[in-house]
Symmetry: C2
């Protein structure tokens, strides 16, 4: 890709980001009850009024990040949308451990966030995992940065403390019964998510805050690196607490998109701390390796799940092409290139870019399709669903635009 | 389909049943720890040692049913396999409500069954639903019929009492927190499953037992009929407790294979009680209608999930062709034909038969593939997995063979 093409690529990405933001501004806001509709059909129609909490938190975060860091999105309507989304979350997302009220007293001071709410904010479902709470932290911290609300920032930090307690001290507050056959495992999602939050909470807040989260960040990195298995030839999604391979499908599971996402989290961390060795590991093991294992040589695109020994995964969607692994791959390769200037990394970016932009964007109604068959046909045509909201697409476009800005500026 | 062809069809089905039974006898038995491996690859290799409880119970049931009712399967090795499977289930499947031991005292006398066990029987996961317990009842009742073990039969009946309590009186023992937005619903799986168990527990046990379960059976039928919605033009999978349509995706969801399975359960019930009106409703609404809505006119085969208003379902696998809806459709159409002799029902059977036998059986390694893409290619090539065991395929072949026996005998 020549300099000229990088420039064209940036223009395409910039335009795409504008369009995607407009799509969600136009179709997702619930002006009656607050918060965001997340189930949005191909043409923008709301096909279900349920409000998924991961996606509420992510949308608040994304609006604030765009408002705070990109001049063309520093607009009152975006700030207003973020604030009303944040109010909806604060008012309705938190339920006590028992799930029945907004008081934390009945569960020993522990807060759970619901996974899904009715349109008017009643809890429908609680997951026994940490992720709703993680996206709550992301939203509150970023929102506090644009509003200057110190209470909100404190609330984000308090929820973060609880997350760390669940993960590192005692997870019984999550509500899963302890079963003798359910051996605790290191699932890559957990340290990845916490590392992401460490970066969120510390960014630009100075050395005192950085120091406070330093040990946690380092722990997250070590936990992620434990997923390098089989003499460095595979990233496995779940490993034992002492970094050994687990038996069965769980142990052999690979999720290339997830590994690529971990890759760029590690690259950010390595840049922040000037850790060249970690940078090399991140690129070799979490960017290039998942691409080599996960790219479909026949049809193109990244598989969703694979089994490291070549067994058929048991997930029915294993061979589908999802939007988000491609978003993560774009960020990972472009960031890796920008840090190293190795041309082969730009070639990979270019390859993923071509597949992504020729398959996922919907030229007819805007935004991106999320779910393709193995051979690249649209399998589910909605723009928002229980797990697809205003997040992976705009975060990818935002990150890539900024990296391209830097690359193009340094080349001129 | 002429008489000759029905005869050919029976031969194919009989041979297929023999092959499928042999596949599971050969590859699924754990001679070391008891019970059955359920994750079995294309060629018979065990790719995961986890033992899924639904599938343990179903395999015990199927072995016993074949042993008890078909002369060529009345063999010691099948009885022995069923008994060791039953022992494994009795010993390990039940966990207390808290999940930590086999004592029921800590949960007020309530038993839960695990969803998944390690190879040596340690609980890995408990679902907050009734289905593990349902398949436990099926297994124990059928096993007690071949062994004459009255304690086992009593145990099945006691577990059944508890199931009915959870469903009709108080479901809090299942462990789901009550959430204000989680409105109780009538999910078709529940009354279907209980009706199946009523038929299991009463079959051939005389009028006293039939009387004991009569009200429950009738209640199940009424609950199933409430899923006829939209002026009789659709079967919806979830309805409100007062038989109204629910909002959103949950309310619009259709599962044609499930409706067809309900269809033949209702046909059995209508035959038992001589209810001609129910027979007509079962055929019109639960056999012909789901076929018309659910058959893929472009590629053939039954869709897994559909939305009654034509929105895209949010289940990633919605357009895949699964083995079990086709198994249920074969039983439903053949039973409907055998009860009515309407030729159009035999035509439908023939159409489903052709699709099924040209797509699912694996000519190379035996048994059936379970999961095809929309256009009929094998998407997952294993023979057993977390939800596919020794059940839908052999039950379908068994039921069809018996119905064809009767049809051919009456035509001669």
């Amino acid at each position: 890709m020549s300099v000229l093409k990088l420039d064209e690529c940036r223009e395409r990405i910039r335009k795409e980001l504008d369009d995607v933001v407009n799509f969600w501004l136009k179709y997702s806001h619930d002006t009656e009850h607050g918060g965001f509709f997340t189930c949005i059909g191909r043409d923008g129609t709301v096909y279900d009024e349920l409000k998924y909490v991961w996606l509420q938190g992510r949308q608040v975060w994304m609006y604030c990040r765009l408002y705070r860091t990109m001049e063309r999105f520093h607009k009152p309507e975006i700030l207003e949308a973020a604030k009303t989304g944040g109010e909806f979350l604060r008012r309705f997302a938190r339920v006590s451990g028992g799930g029945s009220s907004s008081s934390s007293s009945s569960s020993g001071g522990q807060w759970k966030c619901a996974f899904c709410l009715t349109r008017d904010g009643k809890a429908v479902k609680i997951q026994r995992t940490i992720f709703s709470e993680c996206f709550y932290v992301m939203a509150m911290d970023e929102l506090s940065r644009v509003t200057g609300d110190k209470d909100m920032q404190l609330e984000a930090e308090q929820m973060m403390e609880q997350l760390v307690y669940w993960v590192r001290v005692d997870g019984s507050g999550l509500g899963r019964p302890r079963l003798p056959g359910d051996v605790p495992a290191n699932s890559m999602a957990v340290p990845m998510m916490l590392l992401c939050l460490v970066q969120q909470l510390t960014e630009g807040r100075g050395p005192e805050v950085a120091q406070r989260y330093r040990e946690l960040g380092s722990w997250c990195v070590q936990q992620i690196l434990q997923h390098i298995q089989r003499d460095g030839t595979a990233i496995l999604e779940n490993v034992s607490l002492d970094a050994a391979e687990l038996p069965g499908c769980q142990g052999r599971q690979q999720n290339p998109g997830h590994a690529l996402e971990a890759g760029w989290f590690l690259l950010q961390y390595s840049a922040e701390w000037g850790d060249k060795e970690l940078q090399k590991t991140a690129i070799d093991k979490f960017v290039e390796l998942p691409y080599r294992c996960g790219w479909d040589k026949e049809h193109g695109g990244l598989f969703y799940f694979l089994d490291v020994d070549g067994h058929c995964p048991t997930q029915l969607e294993w061979n589908m092409k999802l939007w988000w692994p491609h978003c993560e791959a774009l960020i990972a390769f472009l960031m890796a290139y920008s840090q190293t200037k190795k041309p082969e990394l730009l070639d990979r970016f270019s390859q993923v870019y071509k597949y992504t932009f020729s398959h996922f964007p919907d030229a007819q109604s805007g935004e991106w399709f999320g779910y393709l068959t193995q051979d690249g046909k649209v399998a589910l045509d909605f723009k928002g669903g229980p797990f697809k909201g205003f997040f992976h697409v705009p975060r990818c476009l935002y990150m890539c635009e900024r990296i391209l800005d830097d690359l193009l500026a340094s080349e001129n």
